[in-house]
């Protein structure tokens, strides 16, 4: 018996002698870490999926720029969504986005790289702002720390917005003169890399967040320091050298031409009809129509969602439209200042269409006399934003925020439009702090009446 015990014990001693962990860590095919300058591309790509993927398509259907035409998308067209639809994207927001930004920030501090730390902060703030806008209360302070907070609490929506705004303030002091060529050069579109400045981008995102929470004075202040011209937008690179490379090409194209042909249409959507009624030349860039009854978002050569076309994170035109709107709703309206900003956007689109289709007067500046009342001007501004931000989350964000000021019609058979996305099922299943909230309940920052009304 004693002998047996000795054999038994020695077996364990031998086992504990070889350190299996060490073997794994030195496996060249299974590396577990990377330098922060390489890691930074991960949250940039996660952010791309969040703002250009499924959520943007849903937001586009809800704001009536698209139509859900086939299979799952037919249900989306009558606002039938369930919490399970959001499991994957929640992972992109937190695990691939916010968590990575926080890891990069720590690593950047270790190597004393302020620029990189600041850029990670900007991406984190933007993703958090998007999450707060879409879901309302979301985890932030206890997020992405599964050891200490396996079940993170949900921070109030306004708290998250303010945290993101503060994070951008810190980021602005860190990034210095860094531009689009520093870090993630192949993730940012080549056309803007030389001009894009991280400080300007941060201010523009900050302006958007201030606008969301109704702080119009600060929205104007931040926007004035934001993106200064149309060549300095933050654009996601999709240059696939026309090889239709999965993973590089425009995500709308990927969805509409590559993976899910026919799901996303625009037949009964409002935006194409609005463009046709306004004889807006952008119709030919935004939509493709075989005949009047077969309109689809233009995901083909020459269209906005061409395979190698970039997609915006934050733009000059949005920044100008934030100024224009804020000037009209912040205390006493300032129509003159608002008109200047609105005309800046018209000039931007005129130049852009000139570049694409040759010189022409696509958009002439508005005159003050074009608008009988301030309400008319505000409606023109919000309509322009609805058109300019085609396919972007902001279209639906604005619809909810302004209590649908421009009167976007609802989809057939519905009586109200969704005011938020449901908290994903995975989170509800795994986190006691997650709560089920009806999608027709306004998020806290949108609950009050829009001051423009």
């Amino acid at each position: 018996m004693k002998k047996l015990l000795i054999y038994f014990l020695s077996f364990f001693i031998i086992l504990s002698g070889c350190d299996s962990l060490e073997l794994e860590e030195t496996d060249p095919n299974n590396f577990k870490d990377a330098t922060p300058d390489l890691l930074i591309k991960a949250p940039m790509l996660a952010q791309t999926l969040v703002i250009e993927g499924e959520l943007a398509r849903l937001a586009g259907i809800f704001s009536n720029q698209f139509t859900g035409s086939d299979r799952q998308y037919v249900s989306y067209n009558s606002y039938n969504i369930v919490s399970g639809d959001f499991d994957n994207i929640w992972g992109n927001v937190y695990a691939d986005g916010v968590a990575q930004c926080r890891i990069i920030r720590e690593k950047a501090v270790e190597i004393n790289n302020d620029e990189l730390e600041g850029i990670a902060m900007i991406i984190e703030a933007n993703i958090l702002g998007v999450a707060a806008a879409l879901w309302g209360d979301v985890p932030n302070t206890e997020a992405c720390d599964d050891v200490e907070f396996p079940q993170p609490s949900f921070d109030g929506q306004l708290t998250v917005y303010n945290a993101a705004i503060q994070l951008l303030n810190t980021a602005i002091t860190k990034v210095g003169g860094a531009g689009g060529n520093s870090y993630g050069s192949d993730v940012i579109d080549a056309s803007v890399r030389d001009n894009m400045l991280w400080t300007d981008v941060a201010y523009s995102i900050q302006a958007r967040l201030y606008l969301h929470i109704g702080d119009y004075t600060n929205a104007i202040a931040s926007a004035n320091l934001g993106i200064a011209d149309g060549d300095s937008d933050w654009l996601i690179n999709h240059d696939d050298s026309d090889n239709w490379t999965d993973g590089i090409m425009n995500i709308y194209w990927n969805f509409m031409q590559w993976n899910r042909y026919g799901y996303l249409g625009a037949d009964d959507a409002y935006l194409p009809q609005l463009l046709i009624n306004n004889t807006d030349p952008r119709y030919d860039y935004y939509y493709y129509s075989g005949d009047p009854y077969d309109i689809t978002p233009f995901a083909w050569y020459g269209g906005i969602f061409q395979n190698d076309h970039s997609f915006p994170v934050i733009t000059y035109y949005e920044t100008q439209l934030i100024i224009a709107e804020s000037e009209m709703v912040d205390g006493t309206p300032d129509p003159a200042a608002a008109l200047v900003a609105l005309n800046n956007v018209r000039a931007y689109w005129d130049a852009r269409l000139d570049d694409m289709w040759g010189d022409d007067d696509y958009f002439l500046p508005y005159l003050a006399t074009d608008f009988a009342t301030n309400a008319d001007l505000l409606e023109a501004i919000l309509t322009e934003k609805y058109i300019s931000c085609y396919g972007q989350l902001e279209s639906w964000n604005d619809m909810r925020r302004t209590d649908n000021y421009i009167g976007i019609p609802l989809k057939t058979g519905t009586t109200d439009y969704p005011r938020r996305f449901p908290i994903p099922q995975n989170e509800i299943d795994a986190n006691v702090n997650a709560s089920v909230i009806d999608i027709y309940v306004e998020t806290p920052v949108n609950a009050g009446a829009y001051p423009g009304l």
Partner: protein, 153 residues
């Protein structure tokens, strides 16, 4: 299958005896013959037509409970009838044994599922996997007849 209008229930035609509202909120007048069904979800009869079957009622929608069915079944998997020829006959052919068997496979299925919803309760889109019983454009198990001739030397 309902989404594509090829499930048996979507082939039904009904003539309305009263004005009914469909999923899109459109009213269809009494006397109209439409492809679809009349159903009472609890608040009176409504018309389930293409608007319903392509949307929430189509299986791609947000609600999945409607698409979970009892698929218990009894299947006549294989039946065979064998005849061994007499030894005397076999030995004339220099064989120790000669037999013939008639076999029929998957001849009949007793199942509510097959009657009401689909073709075969054994069907599964995802093949050999954890997902079971997903009825989506998969062929049923084939019915087959075999003749087996056994020769023993």
């Amino acid at each position: 299958m309902r989404h594509f209008g090829i499930a048996p229930e979507t082939a039904n035609e009904v003539t309305l005896t009263e004005d009914l509202v469909n999923f899109a909120g459109q009213t269809r007048l009494a006397g109209t013959t439409v492809r679809g069904n009349i159903y009472d979800f609890g608040a009176g009869d409504v018309l389930l037509d293409q608007q319903w079957y392509m949307g929430l009622g189509g299986g791609f929608g947000a609600v999945s409970e409607d698409f979970i069915h009892d698929a218990s079944y009894v299947k006549l998997r294989e039946i065979s009838l064998a005849y061994n020829f007499p030894k005397s006959f076999a030995s004339k052919l220099k064989l120790t044994n000669l037999g013939i068997t008639l076999i029929g496979r998957n001849l009949y299925t007793w199942s509510n599922f097959a009657d009401e919803f689909g073709v075969d309760p054994e069907t599964n889109l995802t093949g050999v996997s954890n997902g079971r019983g997903l009825d989506y454009f998969t062929n049923p198990s084939s019915k087959s007849y075999l003749i087996k001739l056994s020769l023993s030397f």
